[in-house]
Symmetry: C2
Subunit: 405 residues, 2 copies
């Protein structure tokens, strides 16, 4: 009997009717002879409602209490899903993150899974039950409840799949798979049948619907992820590592964008060894992810250093940078929240000539100014004005003929 881990997002569980529909789908998979672990997010906008409640009693809720508060959302949805399964005659049990053995570090609000003690989950599976697990949450050594950050339910699902050595992890959401670009911006965006983990990492990090941590985790453990809609019966996208004939593939897989970009520029940084470490270590210590980093060529032994963070992290990041900048004798700090990111993604792209040039030409033809450029093995990214991001995505999708299979 195969073991499948499924994850259902909040929009798939927005009300009692949708929860019953999800239960029918799970029961069908069980009846087909599989063992099933279902990881669920909070119902619809339950999480946002809890955040709104917290803001009514406190200007600055403590992260520990915020985690405990938010964790209740997934507890509600997992119990209701288990109840709905039982009422279909499908034996099921609901487990919290703690009961499912999802142990994390103590970084509240963005905790990382340290290990999964899957004993209880395995016992319940062996007893013939569908196990419904509250996603997005774990617990610390001191039995405090943590949350894994937005999109953390995906990570819960993949971590459980890895711990249980599941056949695959299926992620059901309100989109039908991974597209060549955001279909809301590009009407002829095409759904991809399969992508590599590496491509998905770039696609997820730059605006698509899966949390990059879950992709990394799946990649490390070799767990295939199938992303599909929980509503329609349309074929989704399989994310895995075994795509054949890599060399013959079209090089650009998709165009992604991200509006959640804030840039910090530190001027007059002394150009000497250890400066970058001194600047970025304090940020990583408090869990702020730094994205694009650009350091200009040194001028008179002083340089300018720019980097981007998510807008939510901007205030904290500036605070940290300010204290470090004083110590290192750097100059002023400038910030810009009017930027966005647009990228083309594709395996092997950087080893084939012409893609970067093609991207820059498309931007130039659309009169879009490029603020920063970075590249990775499978991605070329431009930071541009947020006001031009839609034009950029459409121009790139057309330039690389992504509407054609």
């Amino acid at each position: 009997m195969g073991l499948i881990v499924q994850k259902y997002g909040g929009s798939s569980l927005a009300n009692a009717g949708k929860i019953r529909a999800v239960a029918r789908r799970i029961a069908g998979v069980r009846e087909a002879g599989n063992r099933v672990v279902a990881v669920v997010s909070a119902m619809g906008n339950a999480t946002d409602e809890l955040i709104a409640l917290a803001s009514q009693v406190s200007d600055a809720p403590t992260p520990r209490e915020m985690d405990l508060l938010l964790s209740s959302g997934e507890v509600v949805s997992c119990t209701l899903t288990a109840m709905a399964l039982r009422s279909l005659g499908c034996d099921a049990i609901a487990l919290t993150g703690l009961q499912a053995g999802i142990q994390t570090d103590t970084l509240h609000g963005r905790a990382r899974i340290e290990r999964v003690e899957a004993g209880r989950v395995l016992r319940e599976l062996e007893a013939g039950r569908v196990v419904v697990v509250a996603g997005f949450q774990g617990f610390t050594e001191e039995m405090d409840v943590t949350t894994l950050g937005r999109g953390g339910s995906d990570t819960s699902a993949v971590a459980l799949a890895a711990a249980l050595k599941a056949e695959r992890c299926e992620v059901y959401t309100d989109v039908e798979g991974i597209y060549t670009a955001d279909p809301r911006l590009v009407p002829d965006a095409r759904k991809l049948d399969e992508v590599t983990y590496e491509e998905m990492l770039e696609l997820a990090a730059y605006g698509a619907k899966m949390h990059p941590r879950s992709i990394e985790l799946a990649s490390v453990h070799g767990i295939p992820i199938y992303v599909a809609s929980s509503f329609g019966g349309e074929r989704g996208t399989l994310i895995h590592g075994d795509i054949p004939m890599m060399e013959s593939r079209v090089k650009v897989t998709g165009v992604t964008h991200d509006r959640n970009v804030a840039k910090i520029t530190l001027r007059g940084v002394p150009d000497r060894p250890g400066i970058a470490a001194a600047l970025f270590e304090p940020l990583s210590e408090v869990g702020i992810s730094v994205d694009t980093i650009v350091q200009n060529t040194s001028l008179n032994r002083f340089t300018d250093l720019s980097f981007t963070v998510s807008r939510a992290d901007l205030r904290d990041a500036v605070e940290r940078v300010r204290s470090v900048a004083g110590e290192m004798g750097a100059g002023e700090i400038a910030t810009d929240q009017s930027l966005s990111k647009v990228s083309i993604v594709g395996v092997g792209m950087l080893n084939a000539p012409g893609y970067a040039a093609g991207m820059f030409r498309a931007m130039a033809d659309a009169s879009i100014n490029i603020d920063m450029i970075t590249t990775s093995e499978i991605r070329i990214t431009c930071i541009i004005a947020e006001s031009r991001v839609e034009d950029a995505v459409r121009a790139l999708h057309k330039t690389f003929h992504l509407q054609e299979p």
Copy 2:
């Protein structure tokens, strides 16, 4: 520094504004130099909303999942209360029943507290924090979440007060204390300054606002309970064991009633030893409380046996009784849900003549038929038609002059 355990009911926490008001009250007690543990119920009608959600996905939700679902209500209120305290500059931490060490048996929906592992609570108190505990919930050896049944938050509070050897347990609710009768039925009902545990046990069991389990627990551990309104500043009622000059007290303390009465009558029961045990043991095994029991004088070696249970337990109770009745060769089973209970309560009452007679005369004068009668050391109870319960309460309140101090 004194240690006070406070309990706030759902109506005191119905919205963010009320939660902030409760936080101000707690912070005041803390500033006055006390250490404080606050036990909270779910916000307003949060529990009812969760029950409604469950009924939308299942006709017969499993008790284990129901407990987990309902427990989320108190998790929300305890985190919000802790946040509100912090925003007042009062250091506070929210703990779930599990984190507060409230261990129970596995009887979901009506679990009993087996012990309180108060280590974490004590550490947080020593760190100078107000500890806000989710009431109504505990956990089993297997880390499953249980609930203590309706009114269980009172029990959580008293159990914590006992485990922490608190000075006293304060229960804040939407009434201002314990009255001589339900003020909605009797306009001149009088608030009592103090009652004994024993009197309160009867008052609570027969319709007043505290769960009898919590009174029993407080009595066993000698924890004084102060019941008062969380809204007004009026003096409440102190429940304790040290009331002086017991002999000189007025004998009838209050009149109580309970509409939640269902009667089961088993006819043609063989009159031989062991019959009552055979009948009531199966009920106690599934946690059904049997209240009034009346057995008629034997006629031809067969007797009729009547007893009352809460209406919610009627179906289960009849089912159990039916299977036992067959084995013992008893006759038909009759049920009646149109009854209520009315009682007069007072220490020493049964040793003083005239109270029972006075009660029956008052009922007769009001033309109220009495279905069953039972008595205890401090209580005389009549089972009557539900349609006459209000008349009965008013008549008894007047007969015993309870409006006069």
